[in-house]
Amino acid sequence: MDADSLHYSLELVAGSGNILNTEHRTALQTSLLILRKNYKFNRVLFWGKIMGIKEDYFIAQGRGDDELKDKKNLYSFNCMDWFLLPPATIPMIEEVSKAATGRFMGDASHVYENTILKKVGDEDEVEEELVKTTEEHRLAVTIHLIDDESSVIPRGAFIKNPHGFVQVNRCFEGLTESQAAKLDSFLHFRDPKTLKKKSLLELSELNQTIDFLDLLTDDVPKGMWSLQFENANKVLILRCLLWLGMTFYHVPMTPQHGYIYIGDGVRNLDLSFML
């Protein structure tokens, strides 16, 4: 969620149960402004909190000219001192998925080790391979995956300008209440994966400037998103059941929207059993 609107948007997502301490909120207001100046971001968002056993990580995300591609993540323990995370590359993702198990420890230099049995050639020999990764890498990869699989925007909130940059749509006035009650007014904020598989008939109805992202309704399993009106039915809340703790809010008929993740950073693999 935008750093500028932090003080009122935190109340809107409070239905999920986690809110920020007043102390943290004021610290964030100060430090995010300083962060924006230092790193020359266009916008700074408070991405959320990943809870570790000993300590919690506060995550901030800075956006550059292209909102979809220029993203930088930073973490902090006390909302004041921020450390830059490396961008998540594919070999890093593989390394983390093999090595990291269990919950986050809370210590950025913690090393996860895992021995994997690998078959050597065609024989029955089994080789043990030790895979290691640090918690910092795990953090970077987790944030990347959560953004990839569960970040949401309302349809029309971002537009693609002729250069191909994705930018905030300043003319977005919000969805109407009936539009907001339908799940197909929301899009994934990531490089589109299922859009290319659509048929020509469906593609012809889309508006190229705002419909360049995947729909939420194309997600598998179907019940992955929980759509509710909260806070005396004024705010629309979308909760992701795959990453428990991801909450998206939108106030209909206003341009306010945003998402925040407060949770333990573990994917909910049992989703299919639980629906």
Partner: protein
């Protein structure tokens, strides 16, 4: 000369009349004519006297044309939509009405209503909560609940359970004395069901009875003890009516331990799972609430102590009651954060059986009373099930077992910058969403989450049991090979021989009889 002028004047008049008629010709498309349009336009310019009329002349012309369409406006108007927010607001308005018949004496008596504003403040320091306005609405809804039920001893906000379609706000209530009416109505319902089943059986022909005997059902704990100590009320949004949840049975707890399901938000939706859950979502919700309370309700050590009257109790009976300790001074926050032994559980642990107090199912109460002595002896035999023992009440958290390589609790102080006035926060890692705070003499527990336990890497559902044997194997039912033709032939020959032998005997007997008859006849 005049004639010339007249003729040219006439010509001009004629041409102007012709031109005027031309102007007044109605256009085929819009049934308007230029003459009327120009008249109206010039009248408009005269009335409004705009600056630079010549520059905006075309716009003026459009405006006049547009203005002509008012008469064909639709007489129907859109109905104003009632938004969902407006519907809920109507119901939540009732929260804010003040009862006029409250006696002022009630202010002196301790009200069972908790001070949610204060609790909300401390929870906010801990980083947990539902937002100030929502807490205020919940506060008023709890007040409505307390006012509507006269026998409440204690009332607490237990927390909020999130669901896929809507959420539940849960309130925990302890009654002063247990109405047996509730139990009677449940028993009456059960009896009616049994009678219905029996009458059905009598009407139909008796079908072959199966020899399967299901394992004995563990009886549920009576109201007011163990896992049924408190009654829980839920509501969807503050302002909507509170619904009472049924009491929990041990079978429901054992199955709830094996399944993993999201709540949908509707109390009557069925739970489709394996092993099949005995009940619907209301029962599942109650079972999870019981498990969460037993696992995560903690208090600072010393806040509660076991009643002094029970100092001479036997070692076997578990302690199941506690009292508020009047001498509790409060523990400094830094100590509470550093060591887990300063926190204790104040809710009884639920045993594997599904109850808090163990019941021996192997002993049949219908047997003769002579066997009571034997029954006591059999408890000590290793064949009989051993009594399950859980950790006694008020055990410190440092004795909680670590599961899945994660410590079960994480402690934190709410603020490092102003630690003199900070709050100690305890977070459960086994039940994500369970928090407890303590500050001086005050403490509180709350749960806001999905109602699911942390199960490590993945959940694997229990396997189905091996298939039962269909029937006992008896020689009548076992298959045997049919005899071949040669064997049958041999058997037939043997039989014929056997028959031939007695037949000869019979024949000789018959012959003798015949001879006797003949002789008699002859005589």
């Amino acid at each position: 000369m005049d004639e010339h002028r007249d003729r040219s004047g006439d010509k001009m008049l004629k041409s102007s009349a012709a031109f005027k008629t031309f102007l007044m010709k109605n256009s085929q498309k819009s049934n308007m004519n230029l003459y009327d349009h120009l008249t109206r336009l010039l009248l408009k310019v005269m009335d409004e006297q705009p600056n630079d009329a010549v520059d905006i002349f075309e716009d003026l012309s459009y405006d006049v044309k547009r203005g002509l369409f008012e008469d064909t406006k639709n007489r129907l108007r859109d109905l104003p939509h009632t938004t969902l927010a407006e519907l809920l607001a109507e119901q939540q308005r009732l929260l804010f009405t003040q009862q006029e018949d409250t006696e002022h004496e009630d202010e002196l008596v301790e009200s069972p209503l908790p001070n949610i504003n204060e609790i909300g403040f401390y929870l906010e320091q801990a980083g947990v909560g539902l937002g100030r306005e929502e807490m205020q609405r919940i506060f008023l809804a709890l007040k409505q609940l307390v006012d509507s039920q006269p026998l409440i001893l204690h009332c607490r906000l237990w927390g909020k359970i999130l669901g896929t379609q809507s959420n539940y706000i849960v309130a925990e209530v302890e009654f002063k004395d247990w109405d047996n009416e509730n139990e009677k109505s449940d028993q009456a319902a059960e009896e009616e069901q049994n009678e219905a089943r029996e009458s059905e059986e009598n009407e139909m022909d008796q079908l072959p009875q199966s020899t399967y005997k299901p394992p004995p059902v563990v009886p549920k704990e009576p109201m007011g003890t163990g896992s049924n100590k408190n009654v829980y009320y839920v509501c969807k949004e503050p302002g909507l009516p509170w619904v009472k949840l049924p009491s929990v049975t041990p079978a429901q707890i054992t199955v709830a331990r094996q399944i993993r399901k999201f709540f949908t938000g509707r109390l009557d939706s069925p739970i489709k799972s394996y092993p099949p859950f005995p009940g619907n979502e209301a029962n599942y919700l109650r079972a999870q609430i019981a498990r969460i309370s037993a696992g995560t309700h903690v208090s600072p050590q010393g806040f509660f102590h076991v009643g002094e009257e029970e100092g001479e109790e036997e070692d076997e009976a578990p302690r199941d009651s506690y009292e508020v300790n009047p001498d509790f001074d409060g523990v400094p926050v830094s100590e509470m954060v550093l060591s887990l032994s300063m926190w204790v559980h104040h809710v009884q642990h639920i045993l594997k059986q599904g109850r808090c107090s163990w019941i021996n199912l192997a002993v049949k109460p219908e047997e003769d009373q002579n066997e009571e002595g034997e029954a006591e002896e059999t408890e000590e035999e290793p064949d009989e099930p051993e009594p399950e023992v859980g950790p006694p009440l008020l055990t410190p958290l440092s004795q909680d077992a670590e599961m899945f390589n994660t410590p079960p609790w994480s402690t934190k102080i709410s603020s490092t910058l102003t630690s003199q006035h900070a709050v100690a926060v305890l977070r459960s890692n086994l039940w994500p969403g369970a928090y407890a705070y303590a500050c001086g003499k005050k403490f509180e527990n709350i749960y806001i989450g999905w109602g699911l336990k942390y199960t490590g890497q993945g959940y694997s559902p229990p396997l189905p049991p091996p298939p039962q044997k269909e029937y006992p194997s008896e020689p009548e039912v076992t298959e045997a090979l049919d005899p071949t033709v040669e064997e049958e032939q041999v058997l037939e020959d043997a039989l014929e021989e056997q028959q031939a032998a007695p037949e000869e005997m019979e024949n000789t007997d018959e012959e003798e009889e015949e001879e006797e008859e003949q002789e008699l006849d002859n005589d």
